[in-house]
Symmetry: C2
Subunit: 475 residues, 2 copies
């Protein structure tokens, strides 16, 4: 594994040694059998796994909202894996329960909750669902016993640029996708507070009860920050739960310089903040924090006499966390984060953030000034969205023909970089904008030179696209 870690930091190594599923199936025998295989073969499997997995710690992996390789965090993860326990009681996780309390308290204070509560969840989607759960319980406390059947139709409001987990949650939690109201955004991807208010009024006029407004701090594609103060005014006026999905953007809370993007955050009711994203904590690590102490337990507490014995004579059972959770067993996600935070302090994360901003600013400037590259939106965070427009279509007039051709450029270039293994960058369409690249900058090992490299690489791949009658030909 040490060799692997070195490979992740060597720019001569590929980001991925890509193989098609059918090829990998030939290279590695995945099938399980009745009989054991020998240890040498098992060790070979480990080697092959590290060979064919995507090197997310590589400085040229820009594909997801996570990446990099934090050695302290990784040690924390190995260590808690070795301890192999569950977070539900102090009895079996004494030290981890206290770590979680300390981290939640610290994160809560940074957000501005003086005496809040929280829990670590298996990912931001479930953290967001915790918010929906609390909001529902606060507005309709009978729903815990009776469900939604005899209650008025409820709605969740979130922006068109927000994360799809609100839809997943709405389905899963019994609201239905049609009861997620998508609020319009401005050109920069920020929720339009005026549209939010209009939608609330419209819902209420139909007898539908809005229960939660989600504002996003760091949208998934543009990295936009919704205007929290304006949205908080509206939520206050209509008595609505205000949740902030800061899974991606929450890290800016650690920068005095950038914190203004979340101005008003002390007024919110809850927040999702994923240290496994920008902060570089190994996957999974997602915090859900709320201002309302006791509500998590009020919602999710179910007596389980075999776990939460009220007559325990060993310790104060208020340290048990199981009744706050919708899970029973809960993975120890806290050790790695706590250890990283000890080793870095707030300052370490702030430095990481400012470094990423420097690299992002450099890249943005290059895109702005280089032929064939075009920003999709002016970035405010470390997500940089841009098109590459190959020479062959650069002078076409704007219109459907150009759009159709341009929409095929990013997938072609992506296929090319994947085959080469030289780097990984994501792409997607958004609103009326056809496929564009989204560069995520968060790895502290990434340099200015890497930015030049990726632009050269995109250009080199983009210029090799051969235009054919019905689309593009893969070089």
């Amino acid at each position: 594994m040490v060799k692997y870690m070195k490979r992740c930091h060597d720019r001569h190594e590929k980001v991925v040694e890509f193989r098609q599923p059918e090829e990998l199936n030939k290279l590695i025998n995945f099938e399980l059998k009745d009989t054991p295989e020998d240890l040498a073969t098992v060790i070979d499997y480990c080697r092959e796994t590290l060979n064919y997995c995507v090197k997310t710690g590589h400085p040229r992996f820009f594909n997801q909202l996570y990446g990099g390789m934090d050695i302290v965090g990784l040690c924390g993860q190995w260590l808690s894996a070795t301890a192999n326990t569950s977070m539900y009681t102090y009895e079996v996780a004494p030290i981890f329960v206290l770590m979680e309390r300390a981290v939640l308290r610290h994160m809560g204070q940074l957000v501005g909750f003086s005496d809040g509560d929280g829990i670590f969840a298996p990912g931001g989607s479930l953290s967001n669902m915790y918010a929906i759960s609390l909001a529902r319980h606060k507005k309709f406390p009978t729903s815990k016993m009776e469900g939604l059947f005899s209650l008025p139709r409820m709605a969740i409001l979130t922006s068109k640029h927000s994360h799809y987990s609100f839809k997943k949650g709405a389905y899963f939690m019994g609201f239905g996708l049609n009861n997620v109201v998508m609020i319009n955004c401005d050109a920069k991807g920020r929720m339009l507070a005026s549209d939010l208010e209009n939608q609330i009024i419209h819902l209420q006029s139909q007898g539908i009860a809005p229960i939660l407004v989600n504002a996003t701090s760091g949208t998934t594609v543009f990295g936009a920050f919704d205007p929290l103060d304006e949205i908080a005014d509206i939520c206050q006026k209509y008595d609505l739960w205000l949740h902030v999905d800061a899974a991606w953007g929450g890290a800016i809370i650690l920068s005095a310089e950038k914190r203004h993007l979340m101005k008003g955050m002390h007024r919110i009711d809850s927040i999702s903040w994923n240290p496994h994203k920008f902060m570089g904590c190994p996957f999974q690590c997602s915090a859900f924090l709320t201002k309302k102490k006791g509500l998590l337990e009020e919602c999710h507490g179910i007596p389980a006499s075999y776990l939460f014995q009220k007559d325990k004579m060993t310790y104060d059972i208020s340290y048990d966390t199981g009744n706050k959770s919708i899970q029973c067993g809960r993975h120890v996600d806290i050790m790695k984060l706590w250890l990283m935070w000890k080793a870095k302090g707030d300052q370490g994360f702030t430095k990481k953030l400012h470094h990423a901003y420097e690299i992002s600013n450099y890249l943005t400037e290059k895109i702005r000034n280089r032929d064939g590259f075009e920003l999709v939106v002016e970035p405010v965070y470390v997500s940089i969205c841009f098109w590459y427009i190959p020479t062959a279509i650069r002078n076409l007039s704007d219109g459907d023909v150009k759009r159709r051709k341009l929409s095929q450029v990013a997938p072609q270039i992506k296929a090319g970089m994947t085959k080469r293994g030289s780097m990984l960058v994501g792409y997607q369409p958004m609103d009326d904008k056809v496929n564009f690249f989204r560069m995520i900058i968060l790895n502290s090992a990434t340099t200015f030179d890497d930015m030049d490299f990726i632009l050269d690489e995109i250009e080199s791949l983009g210029e090799r696209i051969e235009f054919v009658q019905n689309g593009f030909h893969n070089p």
Copy 2:
């Protein structure tokens, strides 16, 4: 960590070096600050963590439905932590996606699903919620878009001895706790099929729609197995989704000798089976399997253009798993299990199970024949439930006085063993039975001698309880 692993296998080492929360808070500085701490201190924290965490790998840890230390599984966990990625796409998790497919296929075949589907979830509670989700969607497909608001009241049926996650799920997913119907059990903790049918008829007469019956294979306390064939007959008659919560008991599928406890399992619609429980896979590892191919995606699929690009030119996107999940990012829980299975084969797990049965049979026999010990129920699995009745109350006549005194014995002994750190065994009340011990036997390192040790230790602690006016005095 190697030293720690050795300590976990040394019977002279304590299972836990127990400290009260306030003591631990003094021993370790949990607070996070703005400034970093030096590396030596961070390494000290690692050492202290291993010192004060509960040694769940110790052969005298019998406290939870997990434990032991499988070195191959642990290596798999370290390795996938190092690879640090998410399961949602083949793009970023190629090798892990193929491992998951192979394991799900193998587990599905063992259950008797010829062409099923499945997903790994963060724990059995969420696996059980997947079952509720599929059952709801099958019966009321409009709920995906419209939610539960205009639908008839729905009910979930599960036994009184089943896991509390059905209540958590019923709350979370919008059904409400009152719509979980608890079916009566026989004296051995098995669901009474006759009561199930009565309840279904009763619900239907009230216009309530039952949507899912959960049968448990390996209940949390008694380790009982509900009669699947009888329950399947009823579900077939009333066209109800039959889910089996085999989180704890699923391992018996790997034993030709014991498989009869789940006779009829090929007839079920879905199953939760947690390899992190009996099979000894490091925590978390929970499989959800269903016979109905395609339904997971039909329920949980939400287009997310930034992840599941339909115009990907690199590979066949049917390998992406994100649309089956209610999560977005999903932890790699598969590597450790896949590697263990390669190293053991089915046979290795079968051997582990038969070893645990041998130890359990030995313990059961001892309890049956030793003064002061009494079985709560005849065990069919590796959960052994029993009382210790101290000499001082052994000859009291049955009645409230004896019950009140007996109910305080287990908590007292538990407090004593925790302080000594000599072993850990859980306890709880159940139905009309006051607090009793529940021994969980799953660690392959556990021996017959350990069983003698625990009975001696319980007796020694139990005899030292001093009876005082209003209860017991802690020795």
